[in-house]
Amino acid sequence: MAKFIIRRFVSLIPTMFVIITLSFFLIRIAPGGPFSGEKNMPEQVLANMQKKYHMDEPLMNQYLRYFGDVLKGDFGPSYRYKESTVNELIAGAFPVSIALGSMALALSVIFGISVGIISALRQNRWQDYTAMSVAVIGISVPLFVIGPILQLVFSMKLGWLPIAWGSRRFSEVLWGLLPTVTLSLPFFAYIARLSRASILEVLRADYVRTARAKGLSESVVVAKHVLKGALLPVVSYLGPAFAGIITGSLVVESTFAIPGIGRVFVESALNRDYTLIMAEVIIFSLLLVVMNFLVDIVYGFLDPRIAYK
């Protein structure tokens, strides 16, 4: 088991390495970027850059410096906002996104699994059809369509929920409800379908037949024998789900005007603020990689075929 953990941890490293290297070189070759020598360089930034990246030094040195800086958590000056460093721009936005993302993920897992179980146990009846139809909507309709439509319905026409993020404390829950639900929809849908399919498959397994032949009641069979194995694929899905939440947050934060790093990323992409973009990519990747690592470990603990030898 310890070997398993170590192996997984070790495989993180090449990915992060590739990403940091990629970001170093992409900044340099980007047209219109700080290093391309074009004229539309804000002077102050140029000065900052030259100081920071020692642009007169050989490339290798610059690379090592960049690497070292990144490892220390310093991403350098922003390209577009001449006064601020990248770190400043990100620091405030980070917790907001974490809150949004984790709540959305939690919602989707809890409801997704519950709905999936109900659907599977009531296969082909009305509960199943309704649930799966809603699930198909969640998967087929893109977030940036669902978001505005939900805004249209719930905020503008019905006036139930506020449109965008605000800082009024007492109604903070309401502010956050619509974006969180929106963000969780596609993942809720996928998890519902996944758990349903997985449970149905396990219900056909030989070992479930054995359990029934032993005289166990159907509820015991499901709760004890079926669920544990059937929900493992959902655990595996958490990795890609997290990645999806990251990209989803770009849309949801933009649509609902939430000051998170997703929105910062979108704006930086439109502004061609390269250093900021790259920093965010590194952070996102790190988050993703760590999350995948954790998911692998959890899966290893849950599946006895891995946990025991």
């Binding site: 030989d206 070992y207 054995t210 029934r212 032993k214 009641s217 015991v220 024998h225």
Partner: protein, 327 residues
């Protein structure tokens, strides 16, 4: 084997409703099982042997299958008509079943102890500690070394043969009256097969359990069974005591089966015998003897009507027009 009949299967019919038609997997099967008897059911794939046994404890997936007729009399009750709550008290308790593939028949996510204890606690009302002790004892009887340690392990930590022993121990732990073994050795290595069969024979003899053993191997039948039923296309074509049937097979199919078994004492260079033709498609089978296209002794009446079963004495019965007057 005693004279006391503990199970009576009367004219059991199990049909499956598929898109292509009704599959009459079991179409009128009758046999009796006595206390302590080991009954073998032999047949090719698709002959209906597995479905027969699943029908006894009503484990047919519904849809698309259902028991369409007949009775299964056990302990004064007709299991076919028994509500599922009552049936569950019998499953694993008075009638146990083990299946063919030990690799997939145990839940990979639960410890062996969990899987064994739940049956004992459910049916015998013991507490967990006592149940575990009983389970360890059964594992020991089934020949698992160091059972106190191994019981807490997971199925994937056992080999195929060991897993089947666990299945046997688990199924016998509530001391059932009948053990149904559905091709328990088909998925195992030949060397292990003999061991497993020995264990089944010894344990059931010790506990007085009757056994219904399904197999496609005549060799297994010869070594294990007191009586046997030969099934073809969903029906029993011949049944009787093993020695009797092997010595004097009456149905042409049985004769063909026996002849097909390769023998060491024949001269090498002889072609191996196999019954010509294929087993029929049991969807919408017309009313005839299903074996007639492959039968050397087929007569005209065989094409037109299914033969009645004739008891030829000495507990030996056969369904073939050769032995019955066509009316």
């Amino acid at each position: 084997m005693t004279e006391e009949v503990i199970l009576q299967v009367k004219d059991l019919k199990t049909y499956f409703h598929t898109d292509e038609g009704i599959v009459k997997a079991v179409d009128g099967v009758s046999f009796d099982l006595h206390k302590g008897e080991t009954l073998g059911i032999v047949g090719e794939s698709g002959s209906g042997k597995s479905v027969t046994n699943l029908s006894i404890i009503n484990m047919i997936p519904n849809p698309p299958g259902r028991i369409a007729g007949g009775e299964v009399l056990f302990g004064g009750q007709d299991l076919v008509k028994l509500p599922i709550g009552e049936l569950r008290k019998i499953r694993g308790n008075k009638i146990s079943m083990i299946f063919q593939d030990p690799m997939t028949s145990l839940n990979p996510f639960l410890r062996i102890s969990t899987q064994m204890i739940e049956t004992i606690v459910l049916h015998q009302g013991l507490d967990k500690k006592a149940a575990k002790a009983k389970a360890i004892e059964m594992l020991k009887l089934a020949g698992i070394p160091a059972p106190e340690k191994r019981i807490d392990q997971y199925p994937h930590q056992f080999s195929g043969g060991m897993r089947q022993r666990v299945m046997i121990a688990m199924s016998l732990s509530c001391n059932p009256e009948i053990l149904i073994a559905d091709e328990p050795t088909s998925a195992l290595d030949v060397t292990i097969q003999a061991q497993i069969l020995d264990i089944i024979r010894d344990l059931t003899a010790r506990l007085g359990t009757a056994v219904i053993l399904i197999t496609h191997s005549l060799g297994v039948v010869a070594g294990m069974c007191d009586t046997l039923c030969v099934m073809y296309a969903g029906r029993i074509v011949e049944r009787g005591e093993t020695a009797e049937v092997f010595g004097e097979p009456k149905h042409p199919y049985t004769q063909g089966l026996i002849k097909s078994v390769p023998r060491l004492d024949k001269a090498s260079g002889d072609r191996l015998f196999s019954i010509r033709g294929q087993p029929p498609n049991v969807i919408d089978l017309p009313d005839c003897c299903p074996f007639y296209p492959r039968c050397d002794k087929a007569m005209d009446v065989c094409k037109r009507k299914y033969p009645a079963t004739k008891d030829t004495g000495n507990r030996h019965a056969v369904a073939c027009w050769l032995y019955t007057e066509a009316k």
